[in-house]
C-alpha cells in the first residue's frame, strides 16, 4: 500500500460524499478463469489459463506483444468466447448470464473506443446508463446522479456540453472512463488505458484509476504495456508469456530480473523506485 494518495483532497471529498453510486457497499462479484483456452481460429492464444482477480484491488496484466494479455481481458469481458474453460463472474459462468446482468457488474474501456460523430461529452457519458434502463424507462434521478458523479470524478463537469472531438487526448480518454463510471459497475476492465497519451496524461489517468479503486473500492483490471507503471499502481500482477501465466502476485514479490527475462526476454536490473519504493526495471542494452 502506498501512502502518496492518503492526503489526496479529491479522495477525501469522495469519502465524505459516499452515496448510492458507491459500489463498496454492494456484494462484490468475484472474477476468475478456469482452464481457459482461446484462439482466433489459428494458434493457441491462451493456454489452460487459470487466474483469479482479487476483489477491490488493482490488477495489471503484463506481457510481451502477442502474449495473450488483451485476449485474457477480452475473455474476462465476455467479448471472446473461450474454446475451452470457463470465466466465472459472481460464481457463475459469465456466458450463462444475460449480457445485461453482466453489464451491471462489469464495465469495460476498450483500447480504441469509437465515438459517434458530433457527440458531446455529457451525451456519451449518459449512454453508460444503458444497462440500468428498461425498455420504456425514462431517464431517472439515479441515472442523472450517476452521470453527474462520473463527470465530477473525471474532472469533466465543465466540459459536459462540449463535443468530444474538441477535447484533448487526455480529456477524451477521461470521458470514456466517465462513461464506464456511469455504468456504475464494481469491476472495471481497461485495455491499455494509457496508450496514445503523453507521460503527464498517463500518470493523470493512472492516478484517477487508483483513486477510483481506493475511494469506491472498485476492482480494476487493466492491460498495461509499461511494466514500471504496472508495478507502481497495481497490487496484483499477472505476467503472461505465450498464453500462460509466468508469474502472479504482488509486484514487490514477483518482479525479479529472472522473471522479466522469462516474460520479455529482456535483461534488466530491478531496483527500488526512489519515489514509491515499488520495483523499477532498468533494461540493460548493448549501447551502454
Amino acid at each position: 500500500m502506498r501512502s502518496d494518495h492518503k492526503l489526496d483532497p479529491v479522495l477525501a471529498a469522495d469519502r465524505a460524499r459516499r452515496n448510492p453510486g458507491d459500489v463498496s457497499s454492494r456484494s462484490r462479484p468475484v472474477l476468475s478463469t478456469e482452464n481457459l483456452d482461446a484462439d482466433y481460429g489459428g494458434p493457441v492464444v491462451l493456454d489452460d489459463l487459470t487466474a483469479s482477480i482479487p476483489t477491490g484491488e488493482i490488477t495489471a496484466i503484463v506481457g510481451a506483444n502477442a502474449s495473450g494479455k488483451s485476449t485474457l481481458l477480452r475473455a474476462l469481458a465476455r467479448l471472446l468466447k473461450p474454446a475451452r474453460g470457463v470465466v466465472y463472474l459472481d460464481g457463475a459462468d459469465i456466458h450463462s448470464q444475460s449480457t445485461r446482468s453482466v453489464a451491471v457488474q462489469l464495465g469495460l474501456l476498450p483500447q480504441s473506443p469509437r465515438a459517434p460523430e458530433g457527440v458531446v461529452v455529457g451525451d456519451l457519458v449518459r449512454r453508460g446508463r444503458y444497462p440500468h434502463q428498461r425498455l420504456f424507462d425514462q431517464w431517472s434521478k439515479a441515472d442523472e446522479r450517476a452521470v453527474v458523479r462520473a463527470l465530477e470524478l473525471t474532472g469533466l463537469s465543465d466540459v459536459g456540453d462540449r463535443p468530444l472531438d474538441e477535447l484533448s487526448g487526455g480529456q477524451r480518454q477521461r470521458a470514456w472512463i466517465a462513461m464506464a463510471l456511469a455504468q456504475d459497475t464494481p469491476v472495471m476492465l481497461l485495455d491499455e488505458p494509457t496508450t496514445f497519451l503523453d507521460i503527464a496524461h498517463q500518470v493523470e489517468m493512472l492516478d484517477l484509476l487508483a483513486r477510483l479503486n481506493r475511494s469506491e473500492n472498485r476492482t480494476i483490471v487493466m492491460v498495461l504495456h509499461d511494466l514500471n507503471q504496472a508495478c507502481r499502481y497495481a497490487s496484483h500482477l499477472i505476467a503472461l508469456a505465450d498464453g500462460r501465466i509466468e508469474a502472479v502476485g504482488h509486484p514487490s514479490e514477483v518482479v525479479t530480473a529472472e522473471m522479466i527475462e522469462r516474460v520479455f526476454g529482456l535483461h534488466v536490473s530491478v531496483i527500488s523506485c526512489p519515489v514509491s519504493g515499488t520495483p523499477l526495471c532498468v533494461p540493460h542494452t548493448h549501447c551502454h
Binding site: 477480452r74 469481458a77 465476455r78 467479448l79 444475460s98 449480457t99 445485461r100 446482468s101 453482466v102 453489464a103 451491471v104 462489469l106 464495465g107 469495460l108 476498450p110 473506443p113 469509437r114 465515438a115 459517434p116 460523430e117 458530433g118 457527440v119 458531446v120 451525451d123 449512454r127 453508460g128 444503458y130 444497462p131 434502463q133 425498455l135 464506464a180 455504468q183 476492465l189
Partner: protein, 326 residues
C-alpha cells in the same frame, strides 16, 4: 426549449405550410380558405373532387412516404455507421422495382403490384444480409454486397424493359420513376398503417442504436444483444423503405440525404433527431412534389425525378466534405 425541439417545431410548421400550398396550387385554382375548408371540415361542395380526391391524398402520401423514407435512411446510416448508405443504395428499392416490373411485364394484375414490390424489397434485404454474413456482421460488407446486388437487379430491370412488349413495360417504366400524382386514399391508408406499426419500433430502437454506435466491444460491455437488435433495425428499415416502393415507386435520395441534414442540424442521434429526420423527410417530399407538379405545368414530372435532381448536387457537396474530413 432546446435546439432539437426548436428545429422540430420549425420542420413541423414547414410540413403544414407546404401541405397547404400543395392543396391550393394546381391547374384548377382553389382559394386557400376554401381549399382548407374543403379538406378539413366542409367536405363536398364545389372543390370536393379536386381537393379530396386529387390533392389531399397526394399531399398526405407525400407526408407519410417522406417520414418512412427518411426514418429508414437514419436507421441504416446509423447501423452501418456510414452517411452514404441508404436502402435505395444497397438495392432494397431496386429489388422491389425488379419484382414490380416483372409483374407488369408478364401482364399480371397491376393490383398485385404493392404486395409484389413489398415482397421483392424484403427478399432483397434477406439476400443481401445472407450473402454478407461471414462469421458475423460487417456493415462495410453489407454495403458492398448491396451495391453489387443493386447493379445486378438494375440490369435485370433493363433487360425486362427491352425484352417485353412496350405497351406493358411503359407503365412499368413510369412507375419506376416514382410518382405521387396518382396517389389515392388507399395509398395513404397503406402507408399510415405501416407507420403506426413501424415508427414506434424505430423510436424504441434509437436507444439501442445509440449504444451500437459505440462499436461492438463497448456495446457488448454495456449489455447490448447485438445480433437481435441489428436484425430488428434492418427489418424495420427495410419495412419502411419497402412500403414506400410498393405504394409510390422508388423515390431516390430522400433516405440518403434527409438523415444527413437532420444530423448536421441537431447533432448525435437522439429520439429528437429521429423526429426531426421524419419531419424533414416530409418537407423534402412535399417540396419535390410541388416542383414536380408546377415546374413544367400542365406537364407533371414524376416526383422521383425531382428528388434525384435535388439529391444529386447535395450528394456531391456531402462527398466533398467527406473527402476533406478523411
Amino acid at each position: 426549449m432546446n435546439r432539437t425541439a426548436r428545429l422540430c417545431s420549425a420542420a413541423a410548421a414547414a410540413v403544414l405550410g407546404l401541405a397547404i400550398v400543395g392543396l391550393v396550387v394546381g391547374d384548377y385554382p382553389v382559394p386557400a380558405r376554401s381549399a382548407i375548408a374543403t379538406a378539413v371540415w366542409d367536405r363536398g361542395g364545389e372543390f370536393d373532387f379536386v381537393i379530396n380526391s386529387l390533392r389531399f391524398p397526394r399531399v398526405t402520401v407525400a407526408v407519410l412516404a417522406g417520414v418512412c423514407l427518411a426514418a429508414s435512411g437514419l436507421l441504416f446510416q446509423t447501423l452501418i455507421d456510414n452517411p452514404l448508405v441508404s436502402p435505395d443504395i444497397i438495392g432494397i428499392d431496386t429489388g422491389a422495382a425488379a419484382v414490380a416490373v416483372a409483374i407488369l411485364a408478364i401482364g399480371l394484375d397491376a393490383r398485385l403490384l404493392p404486395y409484389a414490390a413489398f415482397a421483392g424489397a424484403l427478399a432483397t434485404a434477406v439476400l443481401i444480409f445472407t450473402l454478407s454474413w461471414r462469421r458475423g456482421f460487417s456493415g462495410g460488407r453489407l454495403v458492398l454486397v448491396g451495391i453489387g446486388i443493386n447493379a445486378l437487379l438494375s440490369a435485370v430491370i433493363t433487360y425486362m424493359l427491352v425484352r417485353f412488349p412496350v405497351e406493358r413495360v411503359s407503365a412499368a417504366a413510369r412507375w419506376q420513376a416514382g410518382t405521387l400524382s396518382a396517389s389515392s386514399w388507399d395509398d395513404a391508408r397503406t402507408l399510415a398503417v405501416a407507420l403506426v406499426v413501424l415508427l414506434p419500433v424505430a423510436f424504441l430502437l434509437v436507444r439501442r442504436l445509440r449504444i451500437m454506435q459505440l462499436g461492438n466491444d463497448t456495446a457488448i460491455a454495456l449489455g447490448m444483444r447485438l445480433e437481435q437488435n441489428r436484425m430488428a433495425v434492418i427489418a424495420t428499415g427495410c419495412g419502411l423503405a419497402a412500403i414506400v416502393v410498393a405504394v409510390v415507386g422508388p423515390l431516390g435520395f430522400v433516405a440518403l440525404l434527409v438523415p444527413h441534414v437532420a444530423r448536421s442540424l441537431a447533432g448525435a442521434l437522439t429520439v429528437g433527431v429521429l423526429l426531426l429526420t421524419a419531419l424533414l423527410g416530409s418537407v423534402m417530399l412535399l417540396s419535390a412534389d410541388l416542383v414536380a407538379q408546377r415546374l413544367f405545368a400542365p406537364t407533371v414530372l414524376p416526383a422521383g425525378v425531382v428528388t434525384a435532381a435535388m439529391g444529386g448536387p447535395y450528394l456531391l457537396l456531402v462527398l466533398r466534405r467527406f473527402n476533406r474530413a478523411v
